[in-house]
Amino acid sequence: MAKRIDVSGLTAYYSAHKAIEDISMTVEPRSVTAFIGPSGCGKSTFLRTLNRMHEVTPGGRVEGKVMLDDENLYGSNVDPVAVRRTVGMVFQRPNPFPTMSIFDNVAAGLRLNGSYKKNQLADVVEKSLRGANLWNEVKDRLNKPGSGLSGGQQQRLCIARAIAVEPEVLLMDEPCSALDPISTLAIEDLIGELKERFTIVIVTHNMQQAARVSDRTAFFNLAAVGQPGRLIEIDETERIFANPSVQATEDYISGRFG
């Protein structure tokens, strides 16, 4: 569990449009790495290249290498489906399976993998819901539909669903942007706990959030609209916010643009 991600020379396209260009970085295991930057700078696109979700979009194409420990996710004989089972993802808007119960939502990934025993399934579901700090709120209604929960609960349900399959890495694409401050706080606390077990990458528009939850922060920017996004710098979060080495980062963080 919890592997190191090593990206080198990664470029991603939407058809002919180059969305991000030549990104290289290392993400440490058992840590939280935050991606910040103005809208359209490609941070979400980059995140989606880390579990090969980018190519699901029509016209989506990726060049470069993403090493998960020793394995290149874009190797010629790597199955993208297998990649997504190792690199989990939580989306901007909570997206539990609307037709499934809370229990089935958490169990969905395990059932896909097919290797579980029936009594084992209940244990994993409980453990995952506890891991997502949701167990106490839903333990009496596991058979009710997941879409009946509040937004914050739904997002934690999605986190429980993602961690139930014990991924190596957990990607979070602005997981709190659709939530109220209390729910956001709950998720942020949860991220702090989850980093003991997983490598976490989080995209956020909220710089205070990046400062609160992350160990390292990467700043992305684009030269102009229509230009590809680039990684400007990545460093310890404290350094990025106190004393960044690039002027553009400081301008962004101090609110001079973006």
């Binding site: 029509p58 896909l112 879409s147």
Partner: protein, 333 residues
Amino acid sequence: MASTTPIDSPPPTQAPPVATEKSTSTGRAGDKIFLALSRGSGILLLAIMASIAGFLAYRSAIAISADEGNFLTTFDWDPAGDPPVFGIAVLLFGTVVSSVIAMVIAVPIAVGIALFISHYAPRRLAAPLAYVVDLLAAVPSIIYGIWGALFLVPYLEGLNLWLDEFFAWTYLFEKTEVGVARSLFTVGILLAIMILPIVTSVSREVFLQVPRMNEEAALALGATRWEVIRMSVLPFGRSGVISASMLGLGRALGETMAVATVLSPSFVISFHLLNPGGGTFAQNIAAKFDEANELGRDALIASGLVLFILTLLVNGAARLIIARRKEYSGANA
């Protein structure tokens, strides 16, 4: 909805007043005309439905009281006889069986085509394919009837022999009477082709509406394309597919010309589906209406009333199925 403030009024100094009345009419002419038009349309629809139902019920009552046989169980149709004896048992059987055959064949194929168009086919192929399927709906039913009688009937004989040889043990596919394939089975196949476009296009529209984020949820868990369809697309589309099937079933139950052209009617009930013979409500009405006397016409109208009720029941059942799973439907996501 609650905006009752005219555009030219000064901006409200406090919070805008909450509309307490149910009506949001401002009393202006346009609102009044539109209200009258929409209310009138609604009333007109109810009036038309009521008059059809009343007409059917009245003429049916005349026929059924004159019937010397049991209207529900008699295997005969002789309203001109003395005494007049007629019953709908054979028609009900033939209508239900041929429609069930059509559904069993058409719905899986239609769902398959709809999934292919919406989720598998490259865009260049999907649009023409969808168009071709829709084109099937544009063929008049008499053309289907002629095609069925001249092409399908002779070509199905080989299939009938094969089914009889290997599946006679199912009883359904045992052919005990000689004769060409002017059977309920052939009618079912023809009806399946005829309802394919409506079931396909409604299902396709529903599958295309599956929110992207529902599918991505499955993808991000490591679902294959088929698993995405099973976890996200089919559950979301379930009630839509049921509605689509009911639309198709409605058409199959009421189909007239194509059935009348293909079937060689007879007043027997047989579960040997390959045997020629049988009848359906609509086919029987079309075949006999011209030559029927006054009571004969009323008798046919009475059979039409039963078809009307059957269709109502089918639609009601479909709504029940959809409502029972509402909590879990994708609609509240």
